[in-house]
Amino acid sequence: MNFKKLFAKKSFTATQQGTKGVTMYRIFSCLLIALLGVVVNAAQAADKPVLTIYTYDAFAADWGPAPKIKKAFEGQCDCQLDFVATDSSIGILRKIQLEGAATKADIALGLDSNLTDVAGKTGLFAAHNADAGALSLPIAWQNTTFLPFDYGYFAFVYNSEKVKAAPASFEALAALPDDFKIVIQDPRSSTPGLGLLLWVKKTYGDKAAVLWKRLAPKILTVTKGWSDAYGLFLKGEADMVLSYTTSPAYHLIAEKDARFKAAAFDEGHYMQVEVAAIVKSSKQQQLARRFMQFMLSGDFQSVIPTTNWMYPAANTAGDLPKGFDTLHMPKTSLLMSGAEVEKNRKVWFGEWLAALNR
């Protein structure tokens, strides 16, 4: 007689019924909580005006800028600030386009300067009417619909323990042996990918395709988004990854790791300016305008460096956190107008595809 087996079986049936009961209980309690949540939400909404901001996921994340900005703005506006996360920068625009006039968004935050023309053409956004005097970008900013909140520079990031002599220009990169590998992002799906395409175009003009052909053997893989590429790089798969000059600051400040560096390129670095705009169909125009002005204030700007790992767009931010001083600050800032990008985007994509398909 196998007592052990018999015992095991008995207790097994008992737990089986036990778990069933607990599971049912859990499901019901979860549903109840969800229901309660809806009711509470509705009640809150009745009290105060709600300002809804669509933004990309990393901005809205609990460790991103959103929670601190919510707290600061709610402290002065007698309103409720809600962030809704989309999966990417372009996802913000697509979501508002899909929802059309019924969209809940009052503000779109996190578009990039290369997208302003595409977004502007949809006619979904209204003038911000904010006093942009506090802006301190390395370039002049004229757009009256889209207002910058931070900026950064694209750069190739490497591990200084593994790469002793990083290339200092595209020419030097192209001249390296083919077993030096880089990971880049697809310009059609990722803003850094698009930034690199424009960076090369701005530097090489008509000869861009020639450079891409020389770079092709060094491209380990082309990923859809920044995170896939950066993940591969951190695994040691590639020698360099396309990211930002500010990426090393994250490793230095948050992880106390000084190994990562951005390769400084002689031709200068292409900029990314992140912008926000008021949605035309919003019923909270006044509150939305108030937020746009708040965006350039110190309460907002000082949060940016160590949560979004970018440079603040206004001079209200105060001193940059320690560690940012070690970063490479490009002497030449490269940027194309949104209109120029929009006009040529398709031709340039075609040229890029053809050069890499060879």
């Binding site: 609990d62 899909l98 994250y250 398909n357």
Partner: protein, 543 residues
Amino acid sequence: MRPGGGIVSGSSLPGLLVGAGLIILAGSVFGVILGLQSEMTPGDNVGSSIAHVLGFTLLQASLSTILAMSVGVAVAWALCHQQRFPGRGLLVALLATSMVLPTIVVVLGLVTVFGRNGWLNHVADLGNLSIGGAIYGLGGIIIAHVFMDGPFVARGLLQRLEAIPAEHLKLGRSLNLSAWQRFRLIEWPAMATTLPGFSAIVFLLCFTSFPIVLILGGSPKFNTLEVAIYEAIKLEFDLGRAMQLALVQLAVCGGLVMLAAGYRPQDASISTSAARPIWPEPRRIIIVQAAIIGLFLAFFLSPLISVLIDGLAADLTGLFADSTFQRALGTSLVVALLSSAVTLACALAIALAKRDLASPLRMAQNRRTRLVSWLLSFSGMLYMAMPALVLGLGFFVIARASGVDTTRAAPLVVVIANVLIALPFALAILVPAAEKAALRFDRQALSLRLKGLARWRIVEWPLIRAELGFAAALSFCFSFGDLGVIALFGSRDFATLPWLLYQKMGSYRTTEAAGIALILFVVVLVVFVVVPRLFQGRRYAQT
């Protein structure tokens, strides 16, 4: 219930309704997107030509399918004859997990092992060899597909092999068949009936594969239709081109689905005793089998172990104390439970209806019933051919058109989408089991006038509970690791674990992402070990 009468019986009604609902849903998703297209101005396309994309998609899917099927057959055969070695039970449970893990977890695991800086290259370095960056490009796409789908095929075929009636094996042994003869005369026929079904599923999975191609593809020239659809919708917002591509995909996959739906395994043999007769293997065959299992273990386990190692480096206690993580875990569990329950209900309804239509004592002779039965299979498998983005977009527009707030509709939509993704697999598992149970016991049950719940309890439940358990575990895990529709509907208030994982990866937090990946993996594994046992209960006492 008149035998051969062609009447819709009570037990097939729910299944027919579910099937009709599925087809109507697919139709309306396409309808609303086509309607939406007229609202938007289509742009001229940027991507490669459709013929080029289609050509590459077909090539990689065919190569991946052939390899995954070969690996599946070899491993199932070896495992079937090696019933006793330590860890075998765990290995069999692990087989199905590779397919339901979030792809990004699998891809990073594969890169850790086979990548440029991977374990294999470090080992090869010792002998001055290197596979370099072979994981990127066509090779990488195929390796990843074999890793994800091969074990699933192995697990399915292993079940078939273990269900070979003991009488066949006893007879074979008394005839003194060699291992090769045994394979050709007994085992191959037993597997052959399910091979077309499995090949179709694997081919569809590879054909519509998306994140793998994006990360490991290496270059934009390796583009699949699904990726092209992603580009058309996400980047160009050119819904016209997206629908054009989606229709090409549906035409190719739909054709395959139609063939697979019309295909019915003819094999009615069912194992009557749980105990396999002993058939000692010759020594060299044992060596071959051990080698197959060993190689497979190395290939299959090393990426999973790397997920484990990377995950353990994360601050797991800190993760569990994090309220965002707790909420995401809770949401994922509830969504997966609901999806799994609904999938099971739908699959069971369709399976029972198909059984009614297939059973020779019921309505099988009728030509019309054959069409209905085909339509039922088609409705369940249809969603394998539907691009996830098209599905998500369709739901989004439907929610908008019906005046539902899209953030409030999110939980419902995600559950529905997860059910649709898991349904083809649940059907592939449940339909043959239900048909076999009917073939075996219909005559007795009908003559005893066993009906309804009583019949279910006595006939179906004991025979298909194991399959129910497997289907439940599979659909739970599919939902738990899914990152399809949530990409359009997710928000701070409705985040699942895979969504959180991507958020962490998207903001430098790779170690925390690795921790979440580990937790996802452990939950999936535990579900695959525990759930089938819950359903199995006292299985052996019944037979």
